[in-house]
Structures are given as C-alpha cells and as structure tokens.
C-alpha cells in the first residue's frame, strides 16, 4: 500500500510500571486512506485508546512507543520532536474524546478555547479567528452560534459540548479526525445527532475518521473498514460487510452474539451468548493466542503459539479480510458458526 494518508506499522506501545512492562498495544498495523472511515472495536483495556494516543503523541509517562512507525503522508510521526509534533496535533490530526463534560476547560469560554488552535496553527489574527470560530459552531449545528461562542462549557448540554469538541477538532481542517468513543456518554437521540454530524462532515469535507468504540451498532452506520482488537492485538480486520456477515474470529462472533438486536423477530427467544471469563492480564499475557483462555474452540496450538493473520478469500471485495485465528489453518477442524450470515439477508 503506498500513498496511504496514515500508515501505522508494527506499533508497540508499552507502559513501564513497577510491576513490569504492560504491552498495551502489541504489533498493530493498519492503513487509512483519505476520506475513509475506519472503526477500531474492542472492549475496555484492549488498547484501542492507547493506539489513538500513540498516533496523537499524547502518551503519558510511563507509556512509551517501544517500536514501530506511524507515517502520516510519508512522514514518520514517531521521529518528530515534541515541537514538531505540536504542529501536527490539532492541525493535521484532530481528536475528540469520550467525555464532553471533562474535556473542555470549565474556566475558559468557548471562544478562548477555540481561537487558540486557530491562532497557533493557522496564524490567524484574533478577529479572523473569532469569525472563523463562529462559522465552525454554525457548521456543527449550534443554534445562535454568535452568542453561544462567548459562553462557558457549563452553559452547554452534553450533546452541545460534544458538538463544540467536534468544532474545535475540525478548526484547522485536519485530514484525520480521531473520535474516541464520541457518543458513549450521550443519550441515544443525541448520539444519533452526533453520528449524523460526523457523517456529513466526512462527506462534505472529506475528512478521514478513526472511530474508536465498543458499540458495533454505531460502526455499522458510519464506517467502511473495521479493526477488531483484543488484548493489544488486532484479531480481525476487513470491510464492514465482511466483518458483520462473514466474521471469522471467535472473538468477533462473541462480540456480535453478546448484543441484542432490536430488529430480530425472535429477539426474546434467542439467548445472548456471552463470552465467558475476562480479558487477560497484559502484564503476563497468555503465550499463544490471547483469546485462547476464553475461546471455546481453542486447540492445543492456540495455547502454545500465537496465530498469524490468515487471509480469507471468499468475497470479491477489494478490501483485505484478515483474521488471526488457528481455526483458519487448513489443518484445523471446520467450525460453522451461526454468526456467519450471507450478505443477502
């Protein structure tokens, strides 16, 4: 893959704690093309937020990128100095966080928080920055933007604050917007508003989006590609249709089986299939496949050796569908799973 907008290669991010090294992100790689929306899905602690923070250069002590490269338009972000990184952050990559209640500074007005990045990165004068800021608030759908611009975060509701966060992240027209659980703290009707907004921004401005979430429903409406992460590793990746209709990894089956579906007619008859146990301790990860202790299909090799990525050659899609699971080895027994449905359904 050449000329990808973002190219993450063999990223390893570790936290060096007193107890030892916690490999939060272990050999993760993916590409993002411009105008594309990529979802990173997984449970808490699987390393999805740490991946985002590594890209943003926002890792805090004792976290460190131990190995790997992050190329943004061919430039390796891991080699930039702190000062050079400042010019990238907020300018070329914008980020919105999960909790709109705490990620705005409560003692500064929206105006003060918004013009900061515009004056810093875009070298706008204060007047220009103010008018651009108001324009941005209008763009994200805040009514009476001219007055609201001078208010403080506590005067905004949760959904409005998330809109402000998006406006701030979009201020310098970044090429990539990283959204870390942008709707988790919001009510469903407000979540629908924010998702519509992100979709329209992607379409009108061509911004690439990395959506980090645990909600497979949110992903279905917005993204084209999905990475499923488990315990610091990517276990399955592919186009959204491949992932939802032909999932191959038992963990993906588990994620899809654990959520109730509103549209299902036999909703009440279908028992949810939980994933038993809990994610492994990353201080001492299992030697083989990290999902093996919770996987009901685990074989002996799963406990001994980490599985490589197997390519699934089934559909005529251009997007690669890869899954890291020994079940896909030709020597493995065939396992049929009800989660694999045909796309025509």
């Amino acid at each position: 893959m050449m000329n990808s907008l973002l190219d993450v290669r063999n990223l390893r991010t570790s936290f060096y704690t007193y107890a030892g090294e916690v490999k939060a992100v272990d050999d993760v790689g993916f590409q993002l093309q411009s105008g594309e929306a990529l979802a990173v899905v997984g449970e808490s602690g699987c390393g999805k937020s740490v991946t985002a923070l590594s890209i943003m250069g926002l890792l805090q002590e004792p976290g460190k990128i131990a190995a790997g490269h992050i190329y943004l338009n061919g430039r390796d972000l891991t080699r930039l100095s702190a000062k050079e990184m400042c010019a990238v952050r907020g300018n070329e990559i914008g980020m919105i966080f999960q909790d709109p209640m705490t990620s705005l500074n409560p003692v500064l007005s929206i105006k003060q928080q918004m013009i900061e990045s515009l004056m810093l990165h875009r070298k706008l004068s204060k007047q220009q920055a103010i008018s651009r800021g108001i324009e941005l608030l209008k763009m994200v759908g805040i009514p009476a933007a001219g007055d609201r611009f001078y208010q403080y975060p506590h005067q905004f509701s949760g959904g409005m604050r998330q809109r402000v966060m998006i406006a701030m992240a979009m201020a310098c027209e970044p090429k990539i917007l990283i959204a870390d659980e942008p709707t988790t703290a919001l009510d469903v009707t407000i979540q629908a508003q924010i998702l519509e907004l992100m979709k329209s921004l992607k379409e009108t401005l061509g911004t690439a989006i990395i959506l980090i979430t645990h909600d497979l429903g949110v992903v279905a409406g917005l993204c084209q590609k999905v990475l499923v992460m488990y315990a610091g590793k990517i276990v399955e990746r592919g186009s959204i249709k491949a992932l939802y209709y032909q999932p191959k990894h038992p963990y993906t089956w588990g994620l899809l089986g654990a959520i109730p579906r509103l549209d299902a007619v036999d909703n009440q008859k279908r028992k949810l299939t939980p994933i038993w146990g809990k994610p492994p301790d990353l201080l001492v990860p299992p030697p083989g496949c990290r999902f093996a202790p919770r996987c009901k299909y685990a074989m002996r090799i799963c406990e001994e050796e980490a599985p490589p990525d197997f390519e699934i050659t089934s559909t005529n899609e251009c997007e690669q569908h890869l899954a890291a699971c020994w079940l896909l080895d030709p020597r493995a027994p065939k396992v049929e799973h009800s989660m694999e449905r045909s796309a025509s359904l």
């Binding site: 449970e43 629908a192 909600d215 579906r261 549209d263 909703n267 939980p274 809990k278």
Partner: protein
C-alpha cells in the same frame, strides 16, 4: 395474552405517583423551584414478568425505581404491593416489605462498601431481617455466591478484588439474600463491557425462572430492554408516554417519541443500517424544572398540533394493553 387483568394478579400497582424535588434557584437565595421528576405516573407490574422502563437520562426512570421502594418518599399517589399501599407505612411496618422488594444498582463500583468483605456485605441483609445468624448465615452466603456464579472461597475477599461483572454478581447476591419477590434492576449492565453484559443478563433471566422473580428493568438501552422485558414503558421528562407489549412496541410504536427513540438506535447490520430512515430529534430534552405546558414532548415533536401546547395528553388505551399519551394517535 394482553389480557393481564384476568390471568394475572398485579404484584405492584402504581397509581398517580408523584415525586418532586425542591431546588434552590440561586445559591443562598430564598427562591425555590420545584423539579417534577415523576409526574402522575400509573402502571402495574404483574407476577413473574419483567417490565422494562426506558427513557433518556433525566427522564425520571431511576426516581421511579427509588420511590417504589421508598428510598425517596413520594409526594403523592399510591404504590400498592399485594393489596397494601406501602407509601403510608411506618418504618417498622415497612421492614417486611423491604425484604420482599430489592434493588440492583447501576454502578457496581460504588454500590458495595469497600471496607466490608463479601461475606459481611451478604450477611447484613440476613441480620437485618433476622433470617439467619452465625454458621447458618455463612452457609447462606456460600449458597448465594454459588447461585450467582461465584465460588464460596471468594466470600472473604473485598470488593476491589473483583472485576466489574463479578461485583455486579455480588450486588445481585445481596438483593437475593432476603428471598425477594420483586427486584428493581436499575441500569444493571450499563457500566459493564459488552461481553460481560450478556453474562449478567443471562444470570438475571436464569434467576427469574428459578425463583419466579418479578423485575422492573430500568435502562436507557431499548434494545437490551426489548430483549429482557415482556412489556416496555417509555418515559419522557417525568411522564409515561407509552406502555405496550415489547414486541408490539418495537414493531409498531405509536408515540412520536418512541418512534424517534427506536430509530435512533444503531443496528449492528451495515446493509440494514444503510437503508434505514432515521428520525433525528432536534435539540435537547427541556429542563424538568419548568416543563413546557401541555405535552412535554411538543418542543421536539414533528407532528405537534396547536392543542398539544394547551392541554396535557392523558394516557389512553389504544389497543388492549397498549397505552399512549398523545393527541395525534
């Protein structure tokens, strides 16, 4: 099937329940205003069923749960448990009812005392209700732990040694200690990871079958409520807007708010999701301190008529077991 009145006894009947909170308009100033968290809500819960209660944050669903077991004192209305209005009872007379009505809380991290071991946590209700003491109490603790899928060796541990899902199991064991008939599940899974959520839901379903429990299942996730509940009540700003059989509510919602709520839920199916027509509600929920006169949903409603601003729609039974509070239906 909808004819509950003939086949089933209502276990709990809630009639015109009201709960308001007085809040200071300005700090240190005399002026007080009234926040009507629950305003004239009536419904019944039948023996052995699960009634789902959904709505967005701040709509009063938790307040209903807490008022039902008198963690909050109601301002008006009746809560009739097996023929007895429990709202007027003295603390002493209330005690046996508390044993029969229990609650599971949202946050498994803050609802367990960090300084007590699991055994101590579970023995407390046993002692309060005089169920068991000494060796018998310990045996009961072990029994409870096994019931919720934990081992008896874990009884001497403290809450911090458990994961979120395990803590929620302890919370469930505590609720079961007094062998209740009715359990209020107040967002029991929203603080948990997806794979753990399903474990807890399956556990609750298993316990319901085994012990013939009745649940009031409070949640904001309508797809999960649809999965667990026989009937669903939808709340908006302190009012019950729709109550129906869960299948009927999901298939043919009548109230415009229920329609919007259902369409706002993302479905984990890309093709279906692309073809869905989504009703995106404008704006936010208005403040419950001074709710708009007339129908409370009219500020965000697409089909609001002039009459919606004047009088408040009363809940009407449209079909057997399907009540809606809307003029346009």
């Amino acid at each position: 099937m909808n004819d509950y009145g003939k086949d089933f006894q209502p276990l709990i009947e809630v009639k015109h329940l009201q709960k308001s909170f007085t809040i200071a308009k300005r700090a240190f100033a005399g002026a007080k205003s009234c926040l009507k968290a629950v305003d004239d809500v009536s419904f019944a819960i039948y023996q052995g069923e699960t009634l789902g209660l959904v709505g967005e944050s701040g709509c009063g669903k938790t307040t209903i749960g807490r008022t039902l077991i008198r963690l909050y004192e109601a301002n008006g209305g009746e809560v009739i448990f097996r023929g007895q209005n429990i709202l007027g009872l003295s603390e002493q007379k209330m005690l046996p009812y508390r044993r029969r009505m229990q609650m599971i809380f949202q946050d498994p991290y803050s609802s367990l005392n960090p300084r007590m071991t699991v055994a101590e946590i579970l023995k407390e209700p046993l002692a309060i209700h005089g169920i068991a003491s000494g060796k018998a109490a310990l045996n009961r603790v072990h029994e409870l732990l096994q019931l919720v899928g934990l081992s008896k060796e874990q009884a001497s541990r403290f809450p911090h040694e458990f994961s979120g899902g395990q803590r929620q199991r302890i919370g469930i064991a505590r609720a079961l200690a007094g062998e209740p008939e009715f359990i209020i599940c107040d967002e029991p899974i929203s603080a948990l990871d997806v794979s753990i959520q399903a474990q807890i839901i399956n556990l609750l379903e298993k316990l319901q079958e085994e012990m013939n429990l009745t649940y009031l299942f409070i949640a904001h996730d309508i797809s999960m409520v649809r999965h667990t509940s026989k009937r669903i009540a939808v709340m908006y700003l302190g009012k019950l807007v729709e109550l129906a059989d869960s299948g009927e509510l999901a298939a043919s919602p009548l109230h415009p708010y229920t329609k919007a709520l259902l369409s706002a839920i993302p479905v984990a199916d890309p093709i279906l999701e692309a073809s869905r027509h989504r009703i995106v509600l404008e704006g936010d929920v208005p403040s419950p301190v001074d709710p708009p006169p007339g129908c409370r949903f009219k500020t965000r409603c697409r089909i609001a008529k002039p009459c919606c601003a004047e009088t408040e729609p009363e809940p009407r039974e449209i079909a057997p077991g399907h009540t809606v509070a809307c003029f346009a239906v």
